[in-house]
């Protein structure tokens, strides 16, 4: 048997000739030491995953269109079978395909990825199936109370599946159904509470959801749920800054606190982009700051300075913002 020094020497030679990569070495080492190799997703495997998800979505669309086209003719049992039946079938197919992951080379874990497509069908079709049952039993499925119940069942199913199978698709739908549950429940509470300003309440909820998404994004970064981070940061920033902008309102009903807080919040997000090394914070906060500059200019300066001059000032500020953003991106995030 060759000695360790000889093996290492061979590796050096192979690396010099570019016949072996660092990733291949790590996989070989992990396999030898019984550690499951860390998956290095290639562009091809990403594309395959996206295609599997699109296929799952198309299957769901097929079920939905079939139901919609034949709704009056279909019997209750057929409707339940077509929706909840396919959900259960998709869930078990997903489980069976997902089970094979230990017997295949991680980089080629095709069946595991296919299982995600079936879990997607399950997650998309379950709300329809449950709504059919509730509707048939005489519940008003349009009401916030019943939607709280449906979204609650969906949330529990997804979070339970996540804790058992540790698949990101379940975490994604847990977050989506959790958001639906939060919105339905607060809508339900609000319908018996008529003295609040409804639009303000909607804005504060969007602000809170945005903040929660950002916190989840941060909690999930650099671990198994890391693929969800982009989605969470993106929608979190849109929800948070969109709501904060709306809370500032428009002259003469403007809210000075929110209008003053908005630029501070955007600059804080720009600082965070450098601290967390996340370009998405920089992009969205710059975009929202540009929208804010336009809003403030038209709100306060269009009458005093005149609209054309106000536009020139807004344009100059936007150029300054974009320049600053690009400089920061090149210096700290490249």
């Amino acid at each position: 048997m060759t000695s360790k020094t000889e093996i290492l020497q061979d590796i050096k030679i192979l690396a010099e000739k570019k016949l072996i990569t660092k990733e291949e070495l790590i996989i070989a080492f992990d396999e030898g030491s019984n550690i499951q190799a860390k998956k290095i997703p290639s562009k091809k495997s990403h594309l395959a995953e996206i295609l599997y998800f699109i296929s799952g979505g198309i299957i769901f669309l097929g079920i939905a269109i079939l139901l919609a086209q034949n709704w009056p003719e279909l019997r209750y049992s057929t409707k339940v079978l077509a929706t909840l039946g396919s959900c259960i079938a998709a869930y078990f197919i997903g489980l069976l395909l997902g089970r094979e992951k230990k017997n295949v080379i991680p980089a080629e874990a095709g069946t595991e990825r296919i299982s995600s497509a079936f879990f997607l069908i399950f997650s998309l079709a379950t709300p329809i199936g449950l709504s059919i049952i509730f509707d048939h039993e005489g519940f008003d499925t349009g009401s916030s109370g019943v939607q709280t119940l449906i979204s609650g069942i969906l949330f529990v199913t997804q979070i339970f599946s996540y804790f058992v199978f540790r698949r990101n698709i379940f975490m994604l739908f847990s977050i989506l159904f959790g958001t639906w549950l939060f919105l339905s429940l607060t809508n339900f509470l609000m319908s018996y509470n008529l003295y609040w300003d409804t639009s303000k309440f909607y804005e504060y909820r969007a602000l809170m959801i945005g903040l929660v998404y950002l916190l989840l994004g941060h909690a999930f970064s650099n671990n198994k749920q890391a693929p969800l981070t982009g989605f969470l940061y993106g929608f979190g920033l849109i929800g948070f800054f969109g709501a904060a902008l709306c809370l500032g309102e428009w002259k003469p009903h403007q809210n000075i606190i929110w209008e003053s807080a908005f630029p501070i919040l955007t600059f804080a997000a720009i600082f965070l982009s450098v601290y967390l090394k996340r370009k998405i914070f920089l992009v969205f906060s710059t975009l929202f700051l540009i929208i804010f500059i336009l809003k403030i200019t038209s709100e306060y300066f269009s009458n005093s300075l005149g609209w054309p001059l106000a536009l020139v000032i807004a344009g100059l500020l936007m150029i300054a913002m974009t320049y600053m953003s690009l400089r920061l991106s090149r210096k700290y995030l490249a």
Binding site: G142, L189, L215
Partner: protein
């Protein structure tokens, strides 16, 4: 997962739960302390032809269309006991009424808000629009009145 990420996760879970509890507290706390003092008169099943058949003038209820059919039912709503009692038109005419929409203690009778969920699953909900509530600047109290689009508030009963 490091400590800071754990805190992020805890906060992400705690914020919506805390918000729900705050909403519940802000609804039920003022409700528990609100005590409307004035009863009101309302009618149901008015035969509405061009104009209202019944109006309050000089604190008294009057019937304006003498030749038309008189099918309306009159009720006094007891706000302390939260229940309605049917009375005859003659008894209703004996009451002194304040026709202002707002009672002297700041309450008014309003229809329910939007009870719809987030997604329009099958049908939108309009159920709560036909529920009636007593509302002031701090709270809303649900009234025990059967759902009826033909409900009409007539006035606050002067003691």
């Amino acid at each position: 997962m490091d400590k800071r990420k754990n805190i992020s996760l805890i906060l992400a879970v705690a914020i919506p739960i805390l918000m729900i509890f705050l909403i519940i507290a802000s609804i039920y706390w003022p409700r528990a302390t609100a005590h409307p003092k004035f009863n009101f008169l309302y009618l149901m099943g008015e035969n509405y032809i061009n104009n209202q058949q019944y109006v309050v003038q000089n604190e008294k209820l009057i019937f304006t269309q003498k030749n038309s059919e008189n099918n309306a039912k009159f009720y006094i709503y007891d706000t302390t006991q939260n229940k309605s009692t049917e009375i005859s038109f003659q008894d209703a005419q004996k009451l002194n009424l304040n026709a202002n929409l707002k009672s002297p203690d700041g309450f008014e009778v309003v229809s329910g808000g939007n009870d719809g969920g987030i997604f329009p699953l099958f049908f939108g909900s309009t159920d709560n629009y036909y529920s009636r509530y007593l509302k002031n600047d701090h709270t809303t109290l649900k009234l025990n009145i059967p759902h009826n689009y033909n409900f009409r508030f007539l006035g606050w009963v002067k003691s």
